[in-house]
Symmetry: C2
Subunit: 137 residues, 2 copies
């Protein structure tokens, strides 16, 4: 019996353009928002393709995803360098948080679990929403 070598997954035009859009700015869009962005360049692209390919890009290490409480759905991030996120409970936006000196978390190994990675999400009110709120005081 001949074992078929699993064919390497290609970076199709749809996949490249999704990736490009995510790498344009340090934004953290939902799948729906990615669809909106990508449709400007590929008007016929289906939302299913967006979901499928976001998953593909993620499991192949091209992008990462963020789940937080005040985001109502999953967010995607085209930058995979180690950094943290801030989630605004007013406008639901997710911002990058630049590394602060002491946010290197030491993993507690006593529990016996195999820890592959970790993420920190900061919650609060973003700069812009803070400013808006002040106008009403």
């Amino acid at each position: 019996m001949i074992l078929k070598v699993p064919q390497g997954k290609r970076l199709t035009k749809q996949r490249s353009i999704i990736l490009e859009e995510l790498k344009k700015n340090r934004i953290h869009p939902t799948a729906l928002e990615v669809h909106k962005l990508v449709k400007k360049r590929l008007p016929k692209i289906s939302l299913a393709t967006i979901y499928r390919n976001l998953k593909f890009l993620q499991s192949n290490g091209y992008i990462m995803s963020i789940n937080c409480e005040s985001c109502n759905s999953e967010r995607f991030d085209g930058f995979t360098d180690h950094h943290q996120h801030f989630s605004c409970k007013v406008c639901q936006k997710v911002y990058d948080m630049n590394k602060s000196k002491s946010d290197e978390v030491k993993v507690n190994k006593k529990e016996g679990h195999q820890v592959d990675d970790y993420q920190i999400i900061f919650n609060g009110i973003c700069k812009i929403c803070l400013k808006k709120e002040k106008q009403y005081i």
Copy 2:
């Protein structure tokens, strides 16, 4: 004009029992799992009441919630002391992580956001699933 004093929200029987179940053990169940647990004591309780009251308990500080990538839905935690979580990508369970010395994260204030709190989620494979995997090697 007379301003009505907003009536304090009561801790009804349904709410107390949901809270009790969450405080029995350091578990992190989904809304559906909470429903299952509570139905043993209140067989007529509706799933809508579970969702409504989990939200109520959370926004009144009785419980907290956890959103992570490999959990497919929101988890609830009856313990609100500051602690972190580990999420197993194999069995989808969420475990408590006891505090390690250096997991006090200093918040970067340069961004200008108002940070109310933060959470750390560790991802990997839990002790139990690790053991199971070894059996097949």
